[in-house]
């Protein structure tokens, strides 16, 4: 459903993403791994519209979406989480998840040109029954999504996100992404900074989402998890795709081993990478 062709992004002299081709089938889970600075997050930014490619095309279910704005892509059903975690700090857990469901507000956001926004303002103030019902339904859904994280988030549903632990903020991010009802979910290091228990919880959740048929693109450093979850693994280094295939094949590919251990001293001995 997602297809990248020759996607390229340069920053000055550095080519952060270099002619990447990628195809993702419906309900497939593909992981992107690679050393820090390999261009994985930049690739995500190109797919989600936060950055624009210098060359190449992105298409979703056959529709060209290259260079679309992030809000437009959210409307197309692409949801993502961020590497460093970007929750809305002063919004409650519930409100964060409801923002995820924003694109699904229909009754309160009439899709009319020009007067649409004014009607939206009027409806938000007036709140007829249809608007209230829609909001209540989305809140129900948000509660159901939060319930997937067990007792991690439900008791904190009305707390501002800034007061949550780091792991819980990452969970809120994923809950927010799920509230969008995505066609395609991009997860950028969902378990970064989590302890083993939290990591295995997250892994179970992602496996559940995969089983439900969600199409997922995952950036992750914890190779054990990548091997267990992925249908396919793509390895990036210095902006290029250096290997692609089933988990074990990729793991034993000499180019991959060199990328992680080889070339010079610039690679930090990241615990998360060596742990795998």
């Amino acid at each position: 459903m997602l297809s990248l062709r020759g996607l390229t992004r340069r920053f000055g002299g550095l080519t952060a993403v270099d002619r990447i081709d990628l195809d993702l089938a419906r309900s497939e889970l593909v992981s992107i791994i690679g050393p820090n600075g390999a261009g994985k997050t930049t690739l995500f930014n190109l797919v989600t519209g936060l950055d624009r490619p210098d060359a190449g095309q992105v298409s979703l279910d056959g529709q060209a979406i290259t260079g679309f704005s992030p809000e437009r892509l959210a409307d197309e059903g692409i949801a993502r989480t961020f590497q460093l975690g970007r929750v809305f700090g002063n919004l409650s857990v519930m409100e964060n998840v409801l923002i995820g469901a924003h694109r699904r507000l229909r009754a309160v956001r009439p899709s009319l040109p020009l007067i649409g926004p004014l009607l939206e303002l009027g409806l938000a103030l007036w709140r007829p029954a249809s608007v209230r019902a829609e909001e209540e339904q989305l809140r129900e859904e948000a509660r159901a999504i939060l319930a997937r994280f067990g007792e991690r988030l439900l008791p904190r549903i009305d707390q501002p996100a800034y007061s949550l632990s780091y792991a819980n903020r990452r969970r809120v991010e994923i809950a927010r992404a799920l509230a969008l009802k995505p066609r395609l979910l991009l997860l950028d290091e969902p378990t970064a900074g989590m302890n083993p228990t939290e990591t295995s919880e997250m892994q179970a959740l992602i496996a559940e989402l995969k089983a439900e048929g969600l199409t997922i693109l995952l950036i992750e450093h914890k190779l054990d998890m990548v091997m267990r979850l992925s249908d396919r693994v793509i390895v990036m280094d210095e902006g290029q795709k250096i290997a692609e295939g089933a988990g074990e094949d990729v793991r034993n590919d000499p180019k991959v081993i060199e990328a992680y251990l080889g070339h010079g001293s610039s690679q930090p001995a990241d615990e998360r990478e060596t742990a795998a």
Partner: protein, 607 residues
């Protein structure tokens, strides 16, 4: 007719002065990503120190220059040490607000010390003019050019060859990396503020000599011009700032040549808006920069708002609603009417600056649009006053949103600059659009407030009217905040990148906030116009914008009850204590500084 060469020379000389201010701003922006709104105040201080030196101490020119540079640098160091360093680990909005507060405090201190009347600042140079081609160049022009070139050269050598200069450039490139390499960032900040202040003070003195006049209104203009030059050159770009300054000088000079003096400032602000709109990274920036660093909700202080219990709100409402029945003087009622009018403005600003995170510094322009619309509708088109006020609100909502829309793509401090400039443009248009606005004469004989044909004569009836309108607007705003729109506003404020990734259109929601807020502010302006019966282009000025901002910070960003409490406190208390008008702005400035330092979330907390 003066020749084009003269206009060019004049433009370059004035541009030289702007460049000096802009270079200081660029240095500060480079190392601390802060737009120093107090730069114009240092320029003012420099001009007055120059006056003391020349007129009182009768120092020779060279000593005057050294004295002004040294004294201004000292002011800069004090600002850095006591105003900004304590805020280093604070939220991004804090230093911005602090420099605004500092600028008001400094301006008021100068005004109270020297009186607001203009003074002459003689140049101490023989008045010789040289003929060059078709134009002439005076000795003072040469002095300004020399000071400009010498400072640029000294700065270049300093940044290029001294260790501290390297540290400054390293910090500007990557603050964290510089710190890790052992650069003392505090010392860098100190150096930068000292240099920027010395340059700012010098330029103030030179401009004073150039026009042979100094007055306290110079400060805001200088900040604006410096910022325009700096932004045009690309924020943080020192050579760019020099080029931007010269460009601004030329644009103004040619503009004046073609259209006349009263349009001088308009060109500066139009240039700013144009640059911000077309090339927000400056005229000399390369096309696309690396994507911004992720920031998570660091713009405003996180806090839990204090929930005002319902009974307290109802009691307060009842007390204020019944107040005219109690034996209170009409003076108290007048003061509170004023407080309610400010509360409407503060409601508008707390929505835009607090809930949405767009710190508008030109909010008084919305008052002005509402006031002029309402006054002209009732005077020229005989619209009933009640309808005219609503008309004022609607026009302010529509026009205000339209004018501010170029700033929608900007972030953080840039929004403040853009709104400040837009506010100035509105006031300049009012001044110059004589056929409609009656120009500098203002509008007099505006019909008094009336409702359904009944004039509101007594203080009590005006009180009830303004109180009722304010409460109505506040309730509407509470309802808005409780809707998905309120949630969307706050999400955009906390993280606009994540908000966009979830389908929130920034333009749409920023426009909605300004439409809603513009209406409240316009209604406030409309009521004020009919209450005062006379308005002109200076009735609604930057001081009111700053007072509104202080009210908003005091009450708590985005906090509706806080905006009302803050208005009563800041408008009412000075009246209660009978504080003379000239000290009030000083007090507002100090209040703003103390709040930012000790209670950034305000009395009732950020929502």
């Amino acid at each position: 007719m003066t020749s084009w060469l003269d206009y060019t020379i004049n433009g370059l000389i004035v541009g030289n002065v702007y460049a000096l201010v802009a270079v200081g701003l660029a240095l500060i922006f480079g190392v601390s990503r802060l737009i120093n709104f107090a730069q114009g105040s240092i320029y003012l201080v420099g001009a007055y120190i120059g006056w003391v030196a020349v007129v009182e101490l009768r120092t020779p020119l060279f000593i005057t220059i050294l004295l002004v540079a040294a004294a201004s640098a000292l002011v800069g160091l004090i600002i850095e040490r006591f105003g900004l360093r304590p805020l280093q680990n604070s939220v991004r909005i804090a230093p911005l607000l602090a420099t605004i507060g500092i600028s008001f405090v400094l301006d008021q201190i100068v005004m109270l010390t020297f009186s607001p009347n203009p003074r002459a600042l003689p140049s101490q140079l023989p008045d010789i003019r040289f003929q060059i081609g078709g134009g002439t160049i005076g000795s003072l022009d040469i002095l300004i050019a020399c000071v400009g070139i010498t400072s640029a050269l000294l700065l270049f050598l300093f940044l290029r060859y001294s260790k501290l200069g390297w540290a400054i450039r390293a910090t500007a490139q990557d603050r964290d990396a510089a710190m890790q390499m052992g650069v003392d960032v505090n010392r860098v900040n100190q150096a930068v503020f000292g240099i920027a202040a010395a340059l700012g003070g010098l330029s103030g003195m030179l401009v004073g000599m150039y026009y042979n006049q100094i007055d306290t209104a110079m400060s805001l203009q200088a900040t604006l011009k410096g910022v325009v030059a700096e932004v045009a050159g690309g924020a943080g770009n020192v050579p760019g700032a020099i080029a931007g300054g010269l460009l601004l000088g030329l644009v103004e000079s040619y503009g004046v040549a073609i259209f006349g003096t009263s349009y001088r400032n308009l060109f500066a602000f139009l240039l700013l808006i144009l640059v911000l709109f077309l090339r927000p990274n400056g005229l000399f920036a390369r096309a696309r920069q690396a994507p911004p660093e992720p920031l998570t909700g660091t713009f405003i202080a996180p806090s839990r708002p204090i929930r005002t219990p319902r009974w307290a709100l109802v009691t307060a409402f009842a007390v204020f609603a019944l107040l005219p029945f109690l034996p209170v003087s009409s003076y108290v009622l007048q003061t509170l009417i004023n407080a309610w009018l400010f509360a409407m403005l503060a409601l508008s600003l707390t929505l835009v600056a607090g809930t949405l995170g767009q710190v508008s510094l030109g909010h008084a322009a919305l008052l002005a649009i509402g006031a002029y619309t309402s006054a002209l509708l009732s005077l020229d088109l005989s619209v009933p006053v009640g309808m005219a006020i609503i008309g004022g609100g609607l026009v302010s909502a529509a026009l205000g949103t339209l004018l501010i829309s170029p700033s929608f793509r900007l972030r953080g401090h840039y929004v403040s600059i853009a709104t400040l400039a837009i506010g100035e443009i509105v006031s300049l248009v009012i001044l110059n659009w004589e056929p409609v606005t009656r120009g500098p004469i203002g509008i007099s004989g505006i019909p008094p407030l009336s409702l359904f044909g009944v004039e509101l004569v007594s203080a009590a009836s005006v009180y009830w009217f303004s109180f009722a309108v304010m409460v109505l607007l506040a309730l509407l705003q509470v309802r808005l905040l409780g809707s998905h729109i309120g949630r969307s506003f706050r999400a955009i404020r906390d993280d606009d990148v994540a908000a966009r990734a979830y389908g929130l259109s920034l333009n749409r929601y920023k426009a909605l906030a300004f439409i809603f807020g513009g209406f409240a502010a316009g209604v406030s302006g409309g009521i004020a116009a009919h209450l005062y019966s006379y308005i002109n282009h200076e009735t609604f000025n930057t001081q009111q914008s700053i007072l509104a901002l202080t009210i908003v910070i005091l009450g708590g960003l985005g906090n509706v009850a806080g905006a009302i409490v803050g208005s009563v406190a800041l408008v009412g208390l000075p009246e209660v204590f009978r504080i003379a008008a000239e000290y009030r702005i000083l007090i507002y400035g100090i209040a703003l500084l103390l709040l930012v330092r000790f209670r950034p979330q305000g009395l009732l907390g950020t929502i």
